[in-house]
């Protein structure tokens, strides 16, 4: 049995930390990018890095859009746990209130758009896997970038080049809006909806961990090169650093299709994971 108190504490800590300081690999890439940049790109990256220092020092979120919380739970089938979703939700609400993070969620998407005041509900996905571990992957997804995300239903014969073109098309349309340098999650295969989920799951992987399959690792690096060749640059003010990383996840698909989903994330690449095991 994994205690819900432990789940609460771990999720609370993870959610509080993710809005105040970036994962070390993201922070490292932003620092390196500043050293290589010039002109307005260097000014923008300088402000981003200074902003990160201020946020850490003051204990306030680096971006006011502390996002809608996205949760992917991978639950081992031998794990016993009660009230998992409620526990995670309570930890999210408490972390947002006590961290002075912005509540950015409205109750109904069309009628009235009244802010729920708790940043709930979060978006949940559950996966049941063999074993005794509970893995919780969390994103705090800002919507300046989320609004730039897209799904394409390509023809099955279009192949790899069309995937690269689609990812580039997303950024050509987005330009400076999603706060580049961005991190892109790309989901390839499955169905319309599953490709989108894969594109989010791709964002849960550390930037320094390329795809385990060499073919897709190469695709990730080719995509990064293609996006950076667009010249959009930090803040859209030009330059060679449009993306910090491109992460790919793939899945089997239908003979008639090639779904490709692109989730655009800003440089504020907030991700956290909580791993717990049955004793």
């Amino acid at each position: 049995m994994i205690s819900s108190e432990v789940v609460y504490q771990e999720v609370y800590k993870a959610v509080q930390a993710m809005n105040v300081s970036l994962p070390v690999d993201v922070a490292g890439r932003l620092k390196a990018a500043q050293q290589q940049a010039e002109g307005p790109a260097q000014a923008v990256l300088g402000q981003i890095n200074e902003n990160l220092l201020i946020a850490a020092r003051e204990g306030i979120p680096f971006c006011q859009d502390t996002g809608m919380v996205w949760v992917h739970v991978s639950l081992g089938e031998e794990v016993q746990i009660r009230g998992l979703k409620e526990t995670i939700s309570r930890a999210v609400a408490d972390a947002y209130r006590e961290g002075y993070f912005r509540s950015s969620v409205v109750e109904d998407p069309l009628r009235e758009r009244k802010n729920t005041g708790t940043n709930l509900p979060a978006v949940f996905h559950f996966d049941i896997v063999p074993g005794r571990t509970l893995e919780i992957y969390i994103l705090a997804k800002g919507f300046g970038s989320e609004n730039c995300s897209r799904v394409f239903m390509l023809k099955p014969t279009q192949g790899r080049e069309a995937v690269i073109d689609s990812v580039c098309a997303v950024m050509k349309e987005a330009r400076g809006v999603p706060c580049p340098p961005v991190v892109l999650g790309v989901g390839i295969g499955g169905t319309f909806d599953y490709a989108a989920l894969l594109s989010k799951r791709a964002l849960t992987r550390a930037l320094d961990h390329p795809h385990p399959c060499p073919y897709y690792a190469q695709l990730e690096s080719d995509l990064l090169e293609a996006v950076n060749a667009l010249g959009i640059g930090p803040g859209g003010l030009g330059g060679g650093c449009t993306a910090l990383a491109v992460k790919v996840e793939s899945f089997s698909t239908h003979i008639a299709g090639l779904p490709v989903a692109v989730t655009v994330n800003c440089w504020a690449d907030r991700r956290a994971k909580v791993l717990l095991s049955e004793i």
Partner: protein, 172 residues
């Protein structure tokens, strides 16, 4: 030394795209829903609860204010979502906007017509900009929470002139 611009904005025509400047004085913080309400008021011939003459609007929806601080994290939001409302506000006296991302042709045309500028603030830098805000108070539409209209007194608020009053732009 970076040029300081005192608000309300008097010399919009002198600002050139690409210039880095520091804003000092009063900004009006407003975003999506506040813009929708401002336009509804203007369209029905009523007065806004604050003056737009020479005003500079900052597209922002701040995080809650922690104890002992002036304001929570307060970086720019995407300007493009305000594009449909902006030409009417420019025609009503608005002289400048601060946000992130590019603007529509209609907005640029209205900026030329009214001699106004659009400043770029670094997206996501909420902690940095919060430090430049010395006073903050909601002045209208307070029922909207983080989407209310705020009066923000800023000091040395760092921005880049992104689109100037002649329509020149820094966007790649």
């Amino acid at each position: 030394m970076t040029k300081r611009i005192i608000l309300p904005l008097q010399n919009a025509a002198e600002l050139k795209a690409g210039e880095e400047v520091l804003l000092c004085g009063e900004l009006i913080g407003a975003r999506d829903q506040a813009h929708q309400r401002m336009l509804a008021l203007l369209n029905s011939g009523r007065e806004l609860p604050f003056s737009l003459a020479g005003a500079v609007i900052y597209y922002v929806g701040p995080a809650p204010t922690p104890p002992g601080k002036v304001i929570g994290s307060a970086g720019p939001t995407t300007a493009g979502r305000m594009d449909v409302f902006t030409p009417a506000l420019l025609d009503a006296g608005l002289k400048g906007m601060v946000g992130k991302g590019n603007r529509s042709l209609e907005v640029v045309e209205a900026m030329r017509r009214n001699v106004a500028v659009y400043f770029y603030a670094s997206g996501g830098c909420g902690a940095l900009y919060a430090q430049c805000i010395k006073r903050a108070e909601p002045i209208a539409f307070t029922d909207l929470g983080p989407e209310a209209v705020f009066r923000l007194v800023v000091e040395d608020f760092p921005v880049i002139v992104a689109i100037d009053s002649q329509g020149r732009s820094v966007f790649a």
